[in-house]
Every structure is written in structure tokens, then in C-alpha cells.
């Protein structure tokens, strides 16, 4: 994919029509991270993951269409997708941390009840 974009950029020979590879990579990484964090199973995180995926898909369509305006629009969409993906990761992790904390509090209460 990356090679294709690089190839397209070289062929195009114009800096302004070059696809936003860096933004594509970072948005892809944040979406992957959100999926690995289990964002799909956490409602709020799932929402942002969905937004990231939608904007990323839209960006890909624009990039495939080519043209300076489309590349700029794609770059902005990918910037949004990255921010959504990062938020999805944080929300998924936050949910895990909340469950772990609740478990720890429950553990000590159980222990105290058992030993009293």
C-alpha cells in the first residue's frame, strides 16, 4: 500500500499531489491500536473507532481519486481519524482500568469479610 502511494507520488512528480503517507500510517496505527485494545467491546470506544474507520475509508477513496484538493481533504480526514483512534484506545484502556480497580476494591472487601 505504502509502496503504491510512494510510486504514485514519484510518478506524479508533484509534491502537492503526493498522498499523505505519514497521516495514513498514523491513522492506521491508531485504528489497529484501538482494535487491539478491544475498543469494539466498549460502547464509547467503539463509537470513535467507527468514526476513525469511516473517515479513513473516505480518505482512501479521495486518495484513489487523486488530485491536489482530494489529497488535502484526505489528509484532514486522516488527521481526524487518528484523533478518533487515539481516543478509542484511551477509552478502551480506561474501561479496563476501571474494571481492575473495581475488582481490587471488591477483593479487599471480600478478604475483610472472610477474615472478620
Amino acid at each position: 500500500m505504502l509502496a503504491l502511494f510512494l510510486g504514485a507520488a514519484l510518478l506524479g512528480g508533484c509534491a502537492t499531489t503526493r498522498p499523505p503517507t505519514e497521516k495514513m500510517e498514523s491513522s492506521a496505527a491508531s485504528i489497529r491500536g484501538a482494535e487491539q485494545a478491544g475498543a469494539e467491546n466498549v460502547p464509547r470506544a467503539a463509537l470513535y473507532l467507527q468514526l476513525a474507520n469511516e473517515q479513513s475509508a473516505k480518505a482512501k477513496t479521495l486518495i484513489a481519486s487523486g488530485g491536489e484538493d482530494n489529497m488535502k481533504a484526505a489528509a484532514n480526514l486522516l488527521m481526524r481519524a487518528s484523533a478518533d483512534g487515539e481516543l478509542a484506545i484511551a477509552l478502551a484502556d480506561d474501561d479496563k482500568a476501571r474494571l481492575a480497580a473495581e475488582q481490587a476494591v471488591a477483593d479487599i472487601q471480600t478478604f475483610k469479610q472472610q477474615t472478620q
Partner: protein, 301 residues
């Protein structure tokens, strides 16, 4: 001309309006999100992330003021960054809660472990002392057994000596086992001269043998009883029999028998063992009986 000026004016106004247009919904959301985040725990918990949100919002504000084409995108990102800072602060709070609960659990477990250990030590100690008590009880029981065995042994020894004594006495005195005890009957004519209460030399020799045997078991109570025949006055006979019994008692005591274990009394003509009508019967009635009372107290010890 005026129309052109008017149109230019309208265009200029539109252009100005475009530059100073009201902020986008995205920017309003971003401002609101940042204000919310910076008022919450993020400032304390995740200052670096809140700073990133601030920088992001500043970029969006700049883009808005310069009317950049991507101002809405930058505002969108700024809102997400502010939300991100809040979520990270929330997460830090959960992590802290978890760490705190785990630390308390660790302490509680340590305390409980210590308590359990102390209880175990106490139980062990109690067990040890009860074992010691059991051992002591056993020891006491053993000692009691030993005492009982010794007492039995002494009783058996006492009985054995008694049997030996009876055999020895049987050679010259009548020995009978009666409910009141072993009765040694000594003939009055062997012990005393007529009407006398002093022991004859011959009597002392014989009594010496009796005494030697009695001293073997000087735990028994002795009842020395003097008897006469039916001749003579009763009072005199009682007195004589008393003095004779006393003489025997005194002799036994002089030979080492414990005085507090011997009583003596004169029974006169009472309880005859033979017919007073004949000389032989009267001779048999004149007698001293030494009653060796049953060794009730010995085995009871």
C-alpha cells in the same frame, strides 16, 4: 457606477463577514471540551496530555482567525485531544484506586498472616502445655500406681509375716482366726503364779517370742484381754484380770510395741471358753488373749 460601488461594498462586507465569521460548531465543542478537561483532575493527573490539548486548541483558534481551510478539522482534533486528556486522567484515577486497594489488601493479608501465625503459635503453645499436663498426669498416675503397688506389697508382706507368726505361736499358744481378728490365747498358768499379776520368767521367754513376731507387724492394733475362772469375787477377778492384761501390755510395750496401739482390759470371769465345773475347764478359762485386729488401715493407704 453606484451599482458597482454597491456591489463592491456588498462583496467587501461579505468578505469581512467571512473572515470574522462565527466559530464553527467543532471549535465551540473544542473550547467547551478543553474548558471541561482543564477544570477536572487532568491538570493534576495528566498535565502533559492537557498541555497537548491546549496546543491543539491554540492551533484550531489560529486556523479560525486566519480562516484556514482546515480550521474545522483542527477544531475536531482539538476536541478529541481535550477528551483524551480527560479520559487519561480518569484512567490514572482508576489505576490509583487499584494500587491503593491492592496495597491495603497486601497490608490486610500481612496483618492476617501475622495474626494467623500468632494464633498458630498460641495453639502450638497450648498444645505443648496440654501435652506437658498429660505427661504430668501420666507421671502422677504412675506415681499413684507405684504407691498402690507398694501398699499392696506391704500388705502382702504383712500377711506373710502374720502367717509365719501364727506358725511360730501355734507351737505353744492357741491361735485362732476370728471375726474380731487373730486371737492368741495364752494359758494363765503359763504366764502367772496363782493370784499374781507378775509375769513368770518362763512366761517372759514365751512372750518374748510372741512379741518378736508381733513386732514384725507393729502396725496392728492389739487388744489384750485378761480372763479368770468363776472362782472368787467378781470384782477381785476383774481387777486381777485387768492387772494381768496390763502386765502383758507393759511387757509388749517394753519390747518395743507402740503403746498407743495396745489396749488392755480385764474381763474377769466373763466369756468362759471351758466348763468352770472342772479343774481342767477352769485352767483353760484362766487366760490372756491378745487380739490382733484386722489390718484394715494398711491397704487403705
Amino acid at each position: 457606477m453606484t451599482n458597482r460601488i454597491l456591489i463592491a461594498g456588498v462583496l467587501a462586507t461579505l468578505g469581512f463577514a467571512a473572515c470574522a465569521s462565527s466559530p464553527s460548531r467543532e471549535l465551540l465543542d473544542a473550547r467547551s471540551a478543553y474548558a471541561h478537561a482543564s477544570a477536572g483532575p487532568a491538570a493534576q493527573a495528566v498535565p502533559a496530555d492537557l498541555h497537548i490539548a491546549r496546543v491543539s486548541l491554540d492551533k484550531a483558534e489560529d486556523a479560525f482567525h486566519s480562516d484556514a481551510s482546515n480550521q474545522r478539522d483542527l477544531a475536531y482534533v482539538a476536541e478529541r485531544k481535550a477528551e483524551l486528556a480527560e479520559v487519561l486522567a480518569d484512567r490514572a484515577g482508576h489505576t490509583e484506586t487499584q494500587a491503593d486497594a491492592e496495597a491495603r489488601l497486601g497490608k490486610a493479608k500481612d496483618a492476617n498472616h501475622l495474626q494467623t501465625k500468632e494464633e498458630l503459635e498460641r495453639t502450638k503453645s497450648n498444645l505443648a502445655s496440654s501435652e506437658q499436663n498429660a505427661a504430668n498426669s501420666e507421671k502422677r498416675a504412675d506415681t499413684a500406681d507405684t504407691h498402690a503397688a507398694e501398699a499392696d506389697k506391704r500388705a502382702a508382706e504383712s500377711d506373710r509375716k502374720m502367717k509365719a507368726m501364727q506358725l511360730e505361736l501355734a507351737k505353744w499358744a492357741a491361735v485362732k482366726e476370728e471375726p474380731r481378728g487373730v486371737v492368741i490365747t495364752l494359758s494363765g498358768s503359763v504366764l502367772f503364779a496363782s493370784d499374781k499379776a507378775a509375769l513368770l520368767p518362763e512366761a517372759k521367754t514365751r512372750l518374748g517370742q510372741v512379741t518378736a513376731a508381733l513386732l514384725e507387724t507393729k502396725e496392728r492394733h492389739l487388744d489384750v484381754q485378761g480372763y479368770t475362772d468363776s472362782q472368787g469375787k467378781d470384782a477381785y477377778n476383774v481387777d486381777l484380770s485387768q492387772r494381768r492384761a496390763d502386765a502383758v501390755r507393759m511387757y509388749l510395750v517394753s519390747q518395743g510395741y507402740p503403746p498407743d496401739l495396745i489396749v488392755a482390759h480385764g474381763a474377769g470371769k466373763s466369756l468362759p471358753v471351758a466348763d468352770n465345773a472342772t479343774a481342767e475347764g477352769r485352767a483353760n478359762n484362766r487366760r490372756v488373749e491378745i487380739v490382733i485386729q484386722p489390718a484394715s488401715g494398711v491397704t487403705m493407704k
